[in-house]
Symmetry: C2
Subunit: 225 residues, 2 copies
């Protein structure tokens, strides 16, 4: 029973990877770099994007906004005059806990790929499954709020390993928490040695310049595919 | 393709419900009430249990601790001299994002059902899938930290609807946040009208007495199955 189940899941992942390659080909044709941004619910992805996206030097950006239900984040981001496409995962069932390549593919006709350099895909808030499904992205980044505690890298290692940038957000709250920032950074390094980390407060703007620079760097990467 | 997929998921849920009933029968035979406790990662489930469980009047309690990886929370709770069973979901794949009835069933031989009145199942941190899988519990409760923002009930409605208690935690941080507590409570009420809410700070202990009373109430319910 268990073996059968694993086989089904692996076959679903193979199908996902095939569709991710098709997305990748579309992004390449349009010359668009793609970031898959992940986190637990409420870690601050949208607020960070509100801070970082309006002043990305020389980069035309759009957002694909993944949510189980509603368009709250898309509504917030559209105020920035950045093209935003809403992708809800609640069709036909209680809701998918992640975006997969096929869901992203279904939204691509609504994304103005010909007019942008960078697409940021804001994934569903979840520290497990989003890391298992590639969607055709160039780079994966995650946001980890210090309020979540220093143990999260050890409890959700795949997510921290899957990313090439970890944004440690809400650092303005550190004086009010019993959270050990050094222990958090050590735990991140333990599961993904030498992964770059950025300390930010989306609320105050501290550190957001580093995220901006990272996004510009991804947008200017030479395609090596 | 989409229709087929939904059918597979529904059939998996049917199988889950069958196993949940078998768990339920085992709990009934032992006279054990069961709470399924859910939240996003880092909302404070374990810290709340550390506060609430040592002084549950007249109730012998054990914990079944669900995590993708590691035994950090189980190690913390075992310091309370409460029986704790660790259940990891990372076998064979990148990790399951929720507990299902079969996972719980596989752990039951390690749970001292004959010696307890109440079993608290601490689910994997995730606001989507745990709400879709019954495990044989009497009651479901969730913890929502104010740090996650006031919009979470609207973005993850199934989780808020599935619960008969919503614990609003980390209220000690409210003076340091741009979060509107009244709006959060209104949003909870909008998706699950009249669900009881408890305002708590696991850090200071404020409000934890209410959680204790609720747990005692579940433990003393007459089985109506």
């Amino acid at each position: 029973m268990h073996r059968t189940r694993v086989r089904v899941v692996e076959s679903a992942l193979d199908a996902n990877d095939t569709i991710a390659l098709a997305n990748r080909a579309d992004f390449d044709r349009a010359g668009v770099a793609v970031v898959n941004l992940m986190s637990a619910p409420g870690a601050g992805k949208t607020t960070l994007l509100e801070r970082a996206l309006p002043s990305l030097p020389g980069v035309r950006v759009a957002v694909l906004e993944g949510d189980v239900a509603g368009s709250l984040d898309a509504d917030r981001l559209s105020l920035l005059h950045v093209p935003v496409t809403q992708l809800n995962t609640d069709q036909g069932f209680g809701g998918e806990c992640h975006l997969d390549a096929n869901m992203v593919r279904s939204a691509l006709p609504e994304v103005p790929l010909g007019d942008i350099d960078l697409l940021v895909i804001e994934n569903v808030g979840n520290l497990v499954c989003p890391a298992e499904f590639r969607v055709g992205e160039d780079a994966r980044a995650m946001v980890c709020a210090v309020t979540e505690g220093e143990d999260k890298p050890l409890k959700y290692p795949l997510m921290f390993r899957a990313c090439e940038l970890v944004v440690v957000n809400k650092i303005d709250l550190l004086p009010h928490l019993d959270v050990d920032l050094d222990a958090l950074l050590r735990n991140i390094d333990a599961v993904n040695p030498d992964v770059p980390t950025l300390l930010t407060s989306a609320r105050t703007g501290e550190g957001v310049e580093g995220l901006r620079e990272w996004l510009v760097g991804v947008a200017s990467r030479e395609p090596v595919r």
